[in-house]
């Protein structure tokens, strides 16, 4: 729908009914200090009594308010955005730090996880950046990113902003002064989910399952521990973010159940790229990209043997976890804490 399609409705229907049809209009009215007006009247009638000077502060006059609100409704009309319909993303190689060409073409589809490994400073985060800005041979790496097999249309690249891609990294924190419950409700509202209670509840439950230490819906998000914050961010990104592609930059040591976190993301048909130094995360991916000197040196499919070995590595990891918990709980570590294994 275009703005013009709403003008007649906005001009003739009483505000109360408009608010019932489009609850978001309450925000619009509040933003121009028109909240608390007589809702039995239409917007033009209400505007008759409003001081033009007040409207002018917001850069509007009476007529503009009608059109501006119509544009607002058009912008938020529930269209099925093409952003949701992503069937694949393709990375076409560019060049490494010394200009040698990368000989790769890698296509990833929803439900797949790709890890990115390599030494510190090798260019893992750079690759994530290229994906985020849908590089078109215009970044230092000269890589090109295709969506659904073709060059993403200019509009999507330009206007989607953070829409196509959601990002999670070690440095991110919550800064807003809200409880977990309020926070999730606020996010759901911005997604214009009309009945938000079930998804908010689910998100909270999933986040709590991922976190080592439990928290309540009444906890302030700023008071969550590192692991709890990460858990909430992952649950929220998986269940409440519209972005089909998720980029994760280093989530190690975060005190959360990494295996369940990855499962959650896969289960929600996201395309996940995760830059990591953690062998467990790296091997849990379907594929891993090896970065060397700024370039993609190899793309490795996780082998059957690696998947087998992963079980053993997980066993080692859970031994470590048990020892950590013993120490945390004020206990002693004994010889029996570590099962026998061959010396190297």
């Amino acid at each position: 729908m275009k703005p013009i399609d709403y003008v007649a409705e906005v001009s003739s229907v009483p505000l109360g009914e408009i608010l019932r049809r489009y609850p978001l209009v309450a925000d619009y009215l509040a933003n121009i200090r028109l909240n608390g007006v007589d809702e039995t009247r239409t917007l033009p009638e209400v505007l008759e009594d409003i001081d033009e000077d007040m409207l002018e502060e917001f850069g509007l006059d009476r007529e503009e308010v009608i059109y501006h609100l119509s544009a607002f409704l058009a912008a938020f009309s529930p269209v099925k955005s093409s952003v949701d319909e992503i069937s694949s993303i393709t990375i076409l190689g560019g060049r490494d730090k010394v200009g040698r060409p990368e000989m790769v073409e890698l296509t990833v589809t929803p439900g797949e996880v790709v890890s990115i490994v390599g030494p510190t400073g090798s260019g893992k985060s750079r690759l994530l950046e290229d994906i985020e800005c849908l590089a078109q041979r215009d970044t230092p790496t000269a890589r090109q990113i295709l969506i659904n097999g073709s060059v993403p249309d200019v509009n999507k690249r330009f206007t989607s902003g953070g829409k196509l891609v959601a990002q999670l990294s070690q440095n991110m924190n919550f800064v807003v002064d809200l409880t977990v419950q309020e926070f999730l409700e606020m996010h759901a509202k911005s997604r214009m989910i009309s009945d938000s209670a079930p998804v908010v509840e689910k998100c909270f439950a999933v986040a709590n399952a991922l976190a080592g230490e439990k928290f309540t819906p009444g906890t302030k998000v700023t008071q969550l521990s590192g692991g709890q914050s990460r858990s909430l961010m992952i649950a929220d990104t998986a269940l409440l973010s519209s972005s089909p592609i998720i980029l994760i930059d280093e989530l190690e040591n975060a005190g959360l159940d990494r295996r369940e976190a990855i499962k959650l993301l896969i289960g929600n048909e996201k395309i996940v790229f995760i830059s990591t130094h953690d062998p467990l995360l790296a091997l849990r991916a379907n594929k891993r990209i090896v970065i060397r000197n700024g370039g993609i040196a190899k793309v490795i499919e996780t082998t059957a043997e690696e998947e087998q070995t992963l079980r053993k590595i997980e066993a080692i990891d859970s031994i470590l976890l048990d020892i950590r918990n013993q120490i945390r709980g004020g206990g002693f570590v004994t010889k029996d804490s570590v099962p026998e294994f061959q010396e190297r």
């Binding site: 933003n31 917001f58 912008a75 215009d138 970044t139 953070g162 919550f174 800064v175 997604r191 961010m233």
Partner: protein, 230 residues
């Protein structure tokens, strides 16, 4: 020459974004310049100098920097043309959050940061409402959900703007902004162009509703910058 106007609250990341976007533009050194409009002091020129970006700083003193901007932007454009720039960027820090130093037909960029609070977009008036592009900085330190809600709150105020996320420190996202700058129209002068929105009441002719640019339209307290001879 292309003219880009960049506005935004103090410390929102304007200078950082401008520097990263100039880098992403990849134009020959010295062909992109900046004029900074500030109130009392500014250290931005040091950062522009460091990158060898031709720049001028103009101090508004008692006048709102955005009002001051209108009385001097024409001179800035002349300076840029004489200097042979291919792109001129103006940076101004609105102090009142009411002024919008945007001119019809000139690419207008508003920079705000995620840390300023989730409801900030709803509090910034015409400066946000009349921008073509809203750049959001400091997304590297807040959660994805907060970024999404912030962007949503921006769209509630300015549904037609393009919202871009740029990291002022790493430059992530600057490539996208650079693309928009490349598409900005070429101009020879600003004379007779109009502001997108009247400036709120103060002390010069623009305070009283004048929107046309040009010396003959300026009355009252107008201070003019001495731009370097080129």
């Amino acid at each position: 020459m292309k003219l880009i106007t960049v506005a935004g609250p103090p410390s929102s990341g304007k200078t950082s974004v401008i520097l990263k976007t100039i880098e992403a533009l990849g134009q020959p050194a010295g062909s992109v310049g900046v004029v900074k409009f500030d109130s009392l002091t500014s250290f931005d020129h040091q950062r522009y100098d460091e990158e060898q970006i031709p720049n001028q700083t103009a101090f508004a003193g008692k006048i709102c920097p955005d009002h001051f901007f209108v009385s001097n932007v024409e001179g800035a454009v002349e300076w840029g043309l004489k200097k042979g720039l291919s792109v001129l960027v103006t940076e101004s820090a609105g102090l009142c959050n009411r002024c919008s130093p945007y001119v019809n037909g000139i690419l207008s960029v508003c920079v705000i940061d995620n840390l300023s609070g989730i409801n900030t977009p709803r509090k910034i008036g015409p400066m946000l409402k009349y921008a073509d592009i809203v750049v959001v900085t400091k997304g590297d330190i807040v959660s994805q959900a907060e970024r999404e809600v912030f962007a949503f709150n921006i769209r509630e105020v300015n549904a037609s703007a393009t919202v871009l996320f740029v990291n002022g420190i790493t430059g992530q996202g600057a490539v996208m902004l650079a693309r928009h700058w490349q598409d900005a129209p070429e101009i020879q002068t600003l004379r007779d162009r109009k502001l997108r929105f009247t400036m709120p009441a103060a002390i010069c002719s623009y305070c009283t509703g004048e929107t046309r640019i040009g010396e003959i339209y300026q009355m009252g307290m107008v201070r003019r910058v001495e731009f370097d001879d080129v």
